[in-house]
Amino acid sequence: MILPRLLGPGSIDPDADADADLVRDLELDLLLDAMADGDARVKAVARVVLTSPGGPPETVHRRQGVIEDAARHPEAILALDEIARVAVVPDRADPLWMLSLHPSSSQRLAHALRRLERLTPLLDALRVWCATHGRALTGDAFVELVAAIERTLDDSALTRLRTTMKELAAPAGVVFSASLDGVGEVAGPRLRMPRAENHRLLGGPPLRRPHRTYLIPERDQAGFDAAAELIDRAVLHAGDVASDAVAELDRFFVALHDELGYLSAAVRIRSRLESLGVVLCRPVPAGDSEGFIAAHLVDACLALRLGDVPVGNDVAFSADEVLVITGANHGGKSTLLRALGVAQLMLQAGLPVTAVSCTASLTRRVHTHWTRAEDEHLQHGKLDDELARMSSVVDAASPGDLVLSNESFASTNEREGAAIGLEVVTALAACGVRTAIVTHLFDLADGLARDAAVPTVLLRAPRAVDGARSFRLVPGPPLPTSFGADLFDAEFGTHLADRSSAPQDRKEPA
């Protein structure tokens, strides 16, 4: 059996470990919860789809198309999912559930045959579904799925399946041919169908003569064990083949159920965001050099949390440019970095993007490195912890990946933090890893801005004249202050900001 592959090549394993830092740093749970609507399995599937390495542009187009199909024909999706749902319910009545972890091959065969009894009617139902709904769905993914089902499950295949199931049940004993191996053991057993002409009226063995019969004495337990072992070896191959087929069918139905769940979740999040008034676009997956270009981009997760439309920003940095975001505290820097990451992931997952327009190169993975309040596991010092996390980012990163760094290396003094940061960001850029950073380390931002070998796009969160902030970032070089005095003033009612000197005067030697 084929896998449904509605979301592109590669299978989805909802039990896979997602990058916990990525989910946490981008606050993806807000998005995932809204998609899943309380279904833990759907949430797990959506998390895997969103955080898995992005595919080629065809995969994004395929996902966009299949989500479009789901939005237009909800009844077809529902009917198909009903079949998959029945198939994935575990069979509690099957005694194999109670047995050991290492069933014998005859137990395996028996289990496979019982499972097939349950699954064959669902294979019939799949064909009926194809006939009823197949033609209405026009996305590549569904067209391929319908064709594959009709090809694999034609009449002769289903008939052959039912006949073989009956023959393998072998109520009158297991018959097999064999030879002897070099140490006199029964070898190379192959299951056989006794010849019709060898069957006898009085119930003798249906084999050619002369034959010899042995009845194991009642107390010979070793003899009974040996006979059982002979049977196990004889049915080993058939048991494997049947079990593999069952496993493959189970994988098919589980994947189908998961992928259909994802499609419904995608349709759900689309209407949820629309109902909030967020502008959505169908993003364009671009070639490797384009980088990331978005107009009026907002953070989908922030919109879901606010229940409102956040301030949008324009961002554009090509694949060989480092995006450096500096400026006032609470000026929307982290929000923009998050919006960027979330948009990249949503694009790759085939979802709409919360922007007026969005074009982006596909990345294999998105990595985040956020400053943390405390050492999480109390194992290291704080700088130690930061460096260890950056080291795992470096381990996981490949050229073309996107690394989002938010106030990294702020846990040591400014000079050392900037020196380490400069070295890391420059080296990542030199390797072709796309990087966007938010930093208040002036030496780091300024060093990147001045380094001719590293092209940069500089964005700054401005400080409005009256101390209020617009959250809209503007192009501009880093300044040696983050306007912390503004925040202090707002809290304490002081006027420190007015007394501080002009930024240029305080600039330290780079």
Partner: protein
């Protein structure tokens, strides 16, 4: 019949200088012996130094021949086949049921013949005295009319056995064996029915090779029934097997039996060498001299440590050591971090391994032929020792000196550490003076720096250990200036976050 073979370990008579169990433990050679799994005569050969250069060269030549893979494979196969033939001969004697007994005998004959032929072919071009003799021996054997007849008949029987085919029915406790009647293949039908659902890969699954335990020491009732029933279906074949057994019951050449017992001395050590070579440890056949007292070794590592590190995929870093013609004693001092003892152990191992004709864990080595390697290492205090810790140690030092000759190597590690430093200095100085007067070689690890400056024959070395990366433990016997680095910078280095490290880890197109 072919001429009698000499031992592949050499014909040199036994020496009385076998290494003491204490020294084996101190030098970590216990662990090496455990890995080699040598027993009896072979274990004795491993701990007993050879008497002269010729005997060393005799074994080194065999190791050289073993470098060629085809030679190695043929020798191992020959030894295995002979061992198996002997085992099966013994096993067949225990099994009463004749059809099986005869079949097992046929197996041992087939393996033996095949290995003989392979040995004749692949021992072409050996240089060592031991293997040249072996080649002559197997060639004569393989060409003999006795073997020729055995070969033809065994091949005929094997072909017949291979063609046996029958059909069985098993239902609960009832078994039926019948002649094969070309019944329809249900496995193929299952493949055809389930294959399209389960993919095609499963059709290429290798055939079941698992042993079933139907044949234990005791032939089970079911297996016995099947064999008897098949013998009933194929009476001619089983009669021919009976005749063959009678004609060739004991066919293993006794000289080859001995060869097969002794070969593991080489092959096990060779396997240890190639296992470690895979992790990057270099091995060499040392130049061993009975007349030249110089030591010159490059890239030496501690074999026991290398074995331990190999489990973690790491290896020790090799070091260079040298003693000139008039130098006899190395005194190793330095910080207490483990590198000193490693150096001393490695040197002790080097001398011993060289003296038994084995390759040593070094890039190149020139070593004097030692008559024995003895050690003086700290011991757990024993209750029965009346003299107490220091007294017992002095006794052992005495025994050490009493046994020393100009051809011995003495390895002394933290001697007299249980007494006051002044006492220890006096005692150790005296021991070293006596070693000098005997003219033996020694390596002496101590925390007493002054001892290193005792005289011309003594070379002082300071051990330093690189603690930055504990995975690569090493001993470096040189002085090295300490260098400090800024804290953050050195942390970044440790986490592999320097520019060079990141480039190396991420890879990709550098622009």
């Amino acid at each position: 019949m072919p001429p009698t073979l000499i031992s592949v370990l050499g014909s040199a008579g036994p020496t009385d200088g076998s290494m003491s169990p204490d020294a084996r433990r101190d030098l970590g050679l216990d662990r090496v012996l455990d890995v080699l799994q040598l027993e009896g005569d072979l274990a004795r050969a491993f701990v007993t130094p050879l008497p002269d250069e010729d005997a060393v060269r005799f074994r080194q030549d065999v190791f050289r021949d073993l470098e060629r893979e085809s030679t190695r494979v043929a020798l191992t196969a020959l030894a295995d086949a002979v061992q198996r033939a002997v085992q099966q001969r013994d096993a067949a004697a225990r099994i009463r049921q004749h059809p099986l007994r005869h079949r097992l005998h046929l197996n041992s004959v087939l393996a033996y013949l095949q290995a003989l032929d392979a040995a004749v072919e692949h021992l072409e071009g050996v240089r060592s005295e031991a293997l040249l003799q072996l080649h002559d021996h197997v060639s004569a054997l393989a060409g003999s009319p006795f073997i020729g007849r055995m070969r033809d008949e065994a091949a005929r029987l094997e072909a017949l056995w291979h063609d046996i085919r029958f059909t069985m029915l098993v239902q609960g406790g009832r078994l039926v064996v019948a002649p094969f009647d070309d019944e329809a293949d249900l496995d193929s039908a299952a493949e055809a029915a389930f294959g399209p659902l389960g993919g095609t890969a499963l059709l290429e699954r290798p055939p079941d090779r698992a042993r079933t335990g139907l044949l234990g020491d005791q032939l089970g009732s079911v297996a016995a029934f099947v064999l008897d029933a098949v013998a009933h279906i194929e009476p001619d074949l089983f009669e021919a097997l009976d005749t063959f057994f009678g004609g060739y019951e004991d066919m293993v050449d006794p000289d080859l039996e001995r060869f097969a017992r002794e070969l593991p001395f080489y092959t096990r050590y060779r396997r240890l060498v190639s296992g470690l070579a895979a992790t990057g440890v270099a091995f060499a056949l040392p130049v061993v001299s009975a007349t030249d007292p110089r030591i010159r070794v490059h890239g030496l590592v501690d074999l026991a440590l290398a074995l331990r590190l190999a489990e973690e995929g790491a290896r020790p870093v090799g070091n260079d050591l040298e003693l000139q013609r008039d130098e006899r004693i190395m005194v190793v001092s330095g910080p207490n971090q483990g590198g000193k003892s490693t150096a001393a152990r490695a040197l002790g191992q080097l001398h011993h391994l060289a003296s038994i004709g084995c390759p040593v864990p070094a890039v190149t080595a020139l070593v004097p032929l030692t008559d024995h390697v003895a050690t003086l290492f700290p011991r757990e205090e024993r209750l029965e020792s009346l003299a107490g810790g220091l007294g017992e140690e002095v006794e052992r030092a005495h025994a050490l000196l009493a046994g020393a000759t100009p051809r011995s190597l003495l390895v002394i590690n933290e001697a007299f550490a249980s007494t006051a430093a002044d006492d220890a200095r006096v005692l150790l100085t005296e021991v070293l003076r006596r070693i000098e007067s005997v003219g033996a070689h020694a390596v002496c690890v101590t925390f007493l720096d002054e001892v290193a400056a005792l005289g011309d024959g003594i070379v002082s070395l300071v051990a330093e250990v690189d603690t930055a990366d504990p995975a690569v433990r090493t001993f470096t016997l040189t002085r090295r200036p300490a260098d400090g680095r800024a804290y953050a910078r050195s942390l970044a280095e440790r986490y592999g976050l320097t520019a060079e490290a990141i480039r190396a880890r991420v890879g990709g197109g550098v622009r």
